[in-house]
Amino acid sequence: MKTIIIGAGPAGVKAAETLREEDKKHEIIMLSSEPYPPYSPPAMVQYFLTGEALHYWRGQDFPELNNIDYRQGCHVVSVSPDMNEIELESGEKLTYDYLVIAAGSRLYTPVEGSDKKGIHNFKSLKAGDELLAKVRSGEVSSALIVGAGFIGVEVALMLKKMELDVTMLVRSRVMRSMLDPETSTFVQCILEDREVKILRGDDADAVAFPGDNAARAVQMKSGKELTADLLVAATGLKPNIEFLSGSGIETDWGVFVDQYLCTNMPNIYAAGDITETFDRLTGERYSHANYPNAITQGNLAGLNILGYGLVYDGSENMNSMKHLDVPVIAAGLMEGEEIRLHRNGSLRKLWVKDNKLVGCRLAGDITGAGIFINLIKRGVDISPIRDNLSEPNFCYTHIHDTALMDNVIPS
C-alpha cells in the first residue's frame, strides 16, 4: 500500500507517524512546498527569538527514522482522483493508493492589493524567514500589523521583543473571534503595557495597500494612510485548496470530509487546517485551526486508511495566547449565563447553558482550565458544582466530591 501525504505540518506528520506505527511496510511519501524538514508552527516565535530549533519538534531526521520518502520544496499543483495521481510543480507525476490532503492554511487578506510585494505575514516558516530577514537587515525600526487575531498578537509581541516600534490596526477589537469584549480589553491592556500601540475604529480599518508595484502604506476606511518600515498582514486564515480546483474533490471554505475524515473520493482523506469539519459543541461546519485538532485528525485519517473505521467526534474551539507573560486561554462558546470572577489581576469567565458548561475565557489565572474544558467537551450536568464554579479556590476536589469525575475522561 502506498500513501501520499500532501503537507508536512502537524496533521501530515501525525498521519505519517500513525501509518508507520501501525504498518511497518506501508509506503509513505510526504510532500511539503516549503524547503524545510517538517515543523510545528506554534514554536516558530520561540525559534526566531532565541534560535532554539524547537519547531523541528519531531527531529530533523523524522523522515529517515520513520522510513518516509520526504520531499521538501515540492509543491503539488493538481490532483487527478480518477487516475490516483498528483502532479508537482516540476511536472513530475506520482501515483498513490491513498491520499491525505494536509496542506494547511495560509494568510487570508480581504484588503485590496494584498498580493503586492512588501507585505509580510507569519503563517508559515517560509513567511517567517522572509519577515525575519527583513528585520535582521537592520533597515527596519517600525512595524505596522494589520489584524489582531491570534497570529497578529503573537507577531506583535515577537517584533516588540526585537525592539521594533509596533503598531496594530484593529478594526473591531483584539482577538474578536476568540474573546468576549471584557477579556479582549484585558488583553489589549497587557499589549499596551508591553508598549504595543493599538489603533481601533475607522481610522484603523484597513481597506487597501496603496503602492505601484510594492505596497508602501496601508489605507484606512477613513481615507487616512499609515506606513512603517515593515508591513505585516495578519487578517485571517484560508485553507490552501487552490490546487484542488477541477479535481472533483468537494470543497467550500475548506475540504469537505465525512465523519471518517474521508473526502467525496473514497481513497482521499483530509486533515488539519485545510478541512472543514464540524464543531464538537455546536455541530456547525467550521475549521478550527489549532494544533490539537490537526493532530487528532491526522491520527484518525491514518487509522482510517488502515481500515479502523473510526468516527471523528468534531473539532474543538480552543486556543491560548503565548508570549504575553500572562496566561490567557479561550475555549468553547461565549453565550448563555455568564459566571465572572475578577480578582488579583486575573479575569475568569465561564458560560453556562441548560446546566452545562459551554465555554470559558481565563486570563491571568488559568487553574481549572483542564477541568472546565473537559466538562465542556463531555456536556456534563454541572448542577452539583454550579455554585462552586465562581469560587476562587474551585479545584478538582469539587469534581471528586460530586463524582462528576466519572464523566471527566481524557480523550
Binding site: 506554534p42 477541568i371 474544558i373 479545584c395 471528586h400 475522561i409
Partner: protein, 205 residues
C-alpha cells in the same frame, strides 16, 4: 510496575505532601533553605478544598496512557519514559503555550519559573513520580511523608489485593480514564482495569 496509589477517603488535608513535593523539587532539597530559593520551589501535588467542610483530595498527575497532554504538546516536550510508566515534561523544550493544561482533565499542570529549564524561564511543571528518588530506591516524597496512607507506593497488583474497597473509586476512575481510547492499552492499565472491575463486583456481593 510501581505507582502512587491514592486512597482519597483517607486524606485529611494536612498538605504535608505539598510541602514535601516542593522541597524535593528544590535546589537544596532542604525545607529551611528551599523557602529562600529563587525561583521558589512549588509543589506538583495539590490538596484543595471541596464541597464539604472537611473534604480534601491529593490531586496529582495520573501519568495517563495514552496521555492527552502529550498528544497536544506542539514541541514534543512531553514524553513517556522508556518503561512507559511515567509522563515527563522537558522544561527546555516547553514554550509555555498552555495547550497541555487545557486538555488535562485532572488539572495538575502549573506554570512557573523553573530550575529545570534553561534560563529558568516559565515552563509547565507537574508530578514526575520522583524519578530521581526512584532511581535511588526511594519512594516518592509525597508518599513518604503521608502519615495516613492516603498515598501509597508499590506494585499495582499487590496494592490492589491489600487495598480496601475505598480504592475501588480511584481505580475505576483510571478505568474510565482510558476506556474510550481504542489503541495501545499497556499492561499496567490492564491491571488497573481488571482489578477495578473485579473489585466492583465484589463490592456488589
Amino acid at each position: 510496575m510501581k505507582t502512587v496509589f491514592v486512597q482519597p477517603d483517607r486524606c485529611v488535608g494536612c498538605k504535608q505532601c505539598e510541602v514535601a513535593c516542593a522541597v524535593e523539587h528544590s535546589q537544596s532539597k532542604n525545607l529551611y533553605q528551599a523557602v529562600f530559593e529563587s525561583p521558589k520551589p512549588k509543589p506538583r501535588i495539590f490538596v484543595g478544598p471541596g464541597i464539604y467542610l472537611n473534604s480534601s483530595f491529593p490531586n496529582k498527575c495520573r501519568h495517563c496512557n495514552p496521555a492527552p497532554c502529550m498528544a497536544v504538546c506542539p514541541t514534543s516536550a512531553i514524553k513517556r519514559t522508556e518503561d512507559n510508566e511515567i509522563v515527563l515534561i522537558d522544561g527546555d523544550k516547553c514554550i509555555n503555550c498552555a495547550m497541555c493544561a487545557m486538555v488535562c482533565p485532572f488539572d495538575v499542570i502549573r506554570y512557573y519559573n523553573s530550575i529545570e529549564a534553561i534560563r529558568k524561564r516559565v515552563v509547565a511543571l507537574k508530578c514526575d513520580h520522583c524519578v530521581a528518588r526512584q532511581q535511588d530506591g526511594l519512594e516518592p516524597a509525597c508518599v513518604e511523608v503521608c502519615k495516613v496512607s492516603a498515598l501509597l507506593f508499590g506494585d499495582i497488583n499487590e496494592l490492589a489485593q491489600k487495598a480496601s474497597s475505598k480504592l475501588a473509586r480511584i481505580v475505576s476512575e483510571i478505568d474510565t480514564a482510558v476506556s474510550k481510547e481504542p489503541l495501545h492499552l499497556p499492561d499496567h492499565l490492564e491491571a488497573w482495569r481488571s482489578w477495578g472491575k473485579s473489585a466492583s463486583k465484589l463490592a456488589k456481593k
